[in-house]
Symmetry: C2
Amino acid sequence: MIPNNVAALVFDTFGTLVDWRGSLIQELSQFGAARGLANIDWVAFTDAWRAGYQPAMEPIRKGERGFTKLDILHRETLDRLVKKFNITGLSESDLEHLNRGWHRLKPWPDVVPGMKRLKTKFIIGPLSNGNTSLLLNMSKHGGIPWDMVLGSDALRAYKPMPEAYLGMANFLDLPPIRVMLVAAHNGDLAAARKSGLSTGFMPRPHEYGLNANRDIAPTDAWDVVGTDLQDIARQLGV
Amino acid sequence: MIPNNVAALVFDTFGTLVDWRGSLIQELSQFGAARGLANIDWVAFTDAWRAGYQPAMEPIRKGERGFTKLDILHRETLDRLVKKFNITGLSESDLEHLNRGWHRLKPWPDVVPGMKRLKTKFIIGPLSNGNTSLLLNMSKHGGIPWDMVLGSDALRAYKPMPEAYLGMANFLDLPPIRVMLVAAHNGDLAAARKSGLSTGFMPRPHEYGLNANRDIAPTDAWDVVGTDLQDIARQLGV
C-alpha cells in the first residue's frame, strides 16, 4: 500500500541514481589513455575501488574510528590500488582529480525527468553515504534538482546505522513514516523500515555490469515497487 | 574587488531574502481576524517576536544551553507573548500553525529571479540561523531554487559564531574565500570576513518597516555591494 501522507522522498544514490561503475570505468579509461597508462585493467580497478567501500566504513560504524568523510575513505582506497596496480607517475593533483570522479557520476536516464516530476509534490534529497560536497557537486554536474542535500557528514553516520535514517527524519522534522527511502538495494530498505521509514524499491540490474544479479527483485513487500523513477512517480500520483 | 574564484554563494535569509516582518504581520492579522481576536496589535506582536530572536540564541552561543533548533526558540518566545498580549483560546495546533509562520515567509520580489540566474554559475544555499526544515519549507513555499539546504542544526552553531561560517565552508569542501556570504546585515558580513569568507552586501531598507534605518548602507568595503539580488548577479557576471 502506498502511504498517503509521505512528504519527503530521500534516495540512495550510488547505484540507485547514478551509474558509478560505468561512469568511473569511462573516466579512468580516458585518463589512462591520455596518460599512456597501458595494460591497466580499469574495469578491475573500478570494481576493486568499490569493493573497498563497505570495509572502509565499517570501523566508523563500529565506533573504532571517528567519523571520516567518504571522500577521504575513497582516497585511502585509491592510494592503495594505485600501488597494487603498479600505476606510476601520478601527481597529487592527478590523484585528487581521479578521486573526485565520484563527484561526477552520471545519473541513469530516468533520474532527471523523474526527479523533476517528484519535486512538484515532494521534498526530494539524497540519503547517501556520500559527503555533502560529493552529492552537491554530483547534482550540479548531472542536473539532479534536489531540494536539499544533507550528506553523511551532516548525519554523522553511515547507512545502515539507524542514526542515518532517523537523523534525516529529524532534520526534516517529520515522523519517519512520512519519509520514504527509495533505493535499488533491499538491505538499505530493510534498515530504513526498521527505523520506521516508508520504502520504495526500483531495480538497477546493471549496477554491477550486464551479467550481475544482485538485488534484481524486491525481497520484501516494500511500500512501492517500480521499474524506474518515472514509474515510481506515476505510482505516487505525480 | 570581486573575487574571481568564488564557487558558492550562501545567503542570510531573514531580512535579506524574505520579508519576515511583512509576512508575519499579514499572517497574524488574518488569523486574528478569522478568530475574532480583536484589539491585538499584531505589528507590535511581530516586532516583539523578532526582538526575542537574538536573546534566545545567546545562551546557546555562550555554551550555557545545548544546541536547540530555532523552531523551538521561536515557540518559547511565542508562548511568552501569547500570555503577555492576553491572547486566549488557542489550541496546541493553533500555536504550532502560528509558529510555522516562519516556514512560510515570503521572498522579496528580486529573490527568485536573481537566484535562478545565480544558480547557473554558482552553488547556492542559505547560511542562516534557521533550522533545516524551516529553510527547506520556506524555499518550497516561496520557490527559492536552492542547490542545498544546511540549516543551523547541521552546523550546530548560530551566527555570528565562527563555527557557522567555517562549518559551511567545510561542508562544501571549499576554502572560505571561495564561499561568499550575501547579507543585508553588516555585522553578519563582518563575522564572515573574520572567518575568511568573501562578502556581498545588498540593503533591505524596509526590513524593519518603512521608517527603519538599520543597515541601509555598507559600513565596510565588502567585496560586492549591490542594490538587490539581480544587481549582485549582474556584477558577478551571470
